[in-house]
Amino acid sequence: MPSHPIRGGDRIFRAAAMAAATIALFLVLGIAYTLLEGSYPSVGRFGLGFILGTEWDPAIKMAFGALPLIWGTLVTSAIALLLGVPVSLGVGLLLSEFAPRRSRFPLSLLVELLAAVPSVVYGLWGIFILAPTLRDFVYPALQAALGFLPSFSGSYSGLGVLTAGIILAIMIVPTVSAVSREVFSAVPNSQREAFFAIGATRWEVARHVFSYARSGVIGAVTLGLGRALGETMAVTMVIGNRFEIPSSLFQPGYTMAALIASEFNEATDPLYVSSIVEVGLLLFAITLSVSIVARLLVRRSMKLFREVGNE
């Protein structure tokens, strides 16, 4: 084909669009590179021991380690999943299978409004409403019932690991419920019809839908996990910011994101700064892996449904 002025425009446009698209790739690589570069001094100094280190001493020993941060991040996220996932799945099933059709749109809108509340406002509400309420009403009851367990022993101020976990649970509900609802809705109707045909009750049909969409559900949960791992503001405002693996869930703790937000701007020594960047690197690695796994799972289940539905 002879060269045509219009072809030139097409080439430029395509190049521009491709450039815009590959920014995503450069961003991921760029973030990884910047974090690696910034954490190089502390990686060199502490090596793999950083992950297992339990000291954070910028004063005397200049020793830094991330284990309590990793523990705090994982435990608060675990609490968030334990409390938030059953609620989210219940809501997801409700909006996909049970609720009257007319109400599904407004109800799902309401649930998604939870996602419109910014993290810092959750933190504000957490400091002044949630933490005092937990401290004055819920925690005493919890301790009365479960106080024999070390996890629920000791004094409490309302700010701590459990409170952070609870706020995270609330924050992941919109994500997990929305994605799981999508996954449930994508289950082909042929499955439902088959079960109804053999006389199943509505709940039994829903249970089948749930197990059919298993891997998608796991994907939704993993997505929620990804969100919980990276949450910063709400956590740092209610967790107590204490670098320690606490003996009780009522005690204060720390997460990777909360430490970075609290201490980055104030770190004076280069090794101190580098250690915080390394914490950022760990956070990046963990959330990236979880995110990749989550998306893969959701995709796989959606693809499966499309194939089955086309039979």
Binding site: A20, A21, E112, L114, A115, V121, T175, S177, M237, S291
Partner: protein
């Protein structure tokens, strides 16, 4: 037989009721936040609150007007960067495809909802260190990084819904692909693109963590893009953790304004698009 059926029915009803209960549990915090924020904010919000600069520490009065202005500017500039790039990216994914597009599509999904503090670290390490101070533009860039994957995905989804015939007809008429895409496909799918963009804007308007490391804060009006600037989320954070009751009340006021904006955009986007926009 009848007994078993009854048992199954009852069990089912109980579980369904539990699902309704889950919904109630999910909505309680939302209602609490909305009610508390509104009730604590209304006494605080007056014309002084939205038009004046903050008063010196310990003195009464003053407002958060600079934070409102700062958020508008930082988010505005972020949109100027993030929306065009995101739309172009979505166009590439939808109209061109290929292995690279598959990779980018996957990365977009992964980047959506990424911890914003890590993005803040990245922008600090690159832009702030290069500029040698905290700057509004650094904050805008951080926010645009958070926006691009969202806009890209929603654009791609909207454009994919545009029927193939439209493109083929245009090409058959001799219109070059780039014109086709911009004038015809894009305008046909514009609803989805617009709602996706608005969604992305509302997502980043409430971000605090990256601002801590990029645009920091200021007690004055916006002066220039390479200087720190006040933003609503940062103001809420600093005021919320302060011991001054006056500032704490102002934090509720600022939270109310921020949420009013976010809720309005959220609701309007859903209503416009009619269906759930994946975000």
């Amino acid at each position: 037989m009848k007994d078993i059926l009854l048992k199954r029915r009852v069990k089912g009803r109980i579980y369904i009721a539990l699902c309704y209960g889950a919904l109630a549990v999910a909505l309680v915090p939302l209602l609490s936040i909305l009610l508390v924020t509104t009730s604590k904010a209304l006494p605080v919000i007056d014309s002084q609150f939205v038009t004046q600069l903050p008063a010196p520490v310990g003195s009464p009065g003053g407002g958060i007007a600079n934070a409102i202005q700062g958020t508008a500017i930082v988010v505005g500039v972020a949109s100027l960067i993030g929306i065009p790039v995101g739309v172009l990216s979505g166009i590439y994914l939808s109209e061109y495809g290929g292995k690279l597009a598959d990779l980018v599509r996957f990365l977009n999904e992964v980047l959506t909802g990424f911890p914003s503090i890590v993005v803040g670290l990245f922008v600090w390490g690159t832009i702030v260190m290069t500029l040698h101070h905290f700057a509004a533009i650094a904050g805008s860039i951080a926010l645009s990084i958070l926006m691009i994957p969202v806009v890209s995905r929603t654009t791609e989804e909207s454009l994919k819904l545009v029927p193939k015939d439209l493109r083929e007809a245009a090409l058959a008429l001799g219109i070059p692909k780039w014109r086709t895409t911009l004038s015809i496909v894009l305008s046909s799918g514009r609803n989805g693109v617009i709602t996706g963009s608005i969604l992305a804007v509302s997502r980043v308007a409430g971000e605090t963590a990256p601002m801590l490391l990029t645009s920091l804060s200021s007690s004055f009006w916006f002066s220039s893009l390479d200087q720190p600037v006040a933003t609503l989320p940062i103001t809420i954070y600093y005021y919320a953790i302060s011991p001054f009751v006056d500032l704490q009340n102002k934090a509720w006021g600022a939270a109310f304004l921020l949420m009013a904006f976010l809720l309005a955009t959220s609701v309007s986007v859903r209503v416009i698009s009619g269906r759930r926009v994946t975000a």
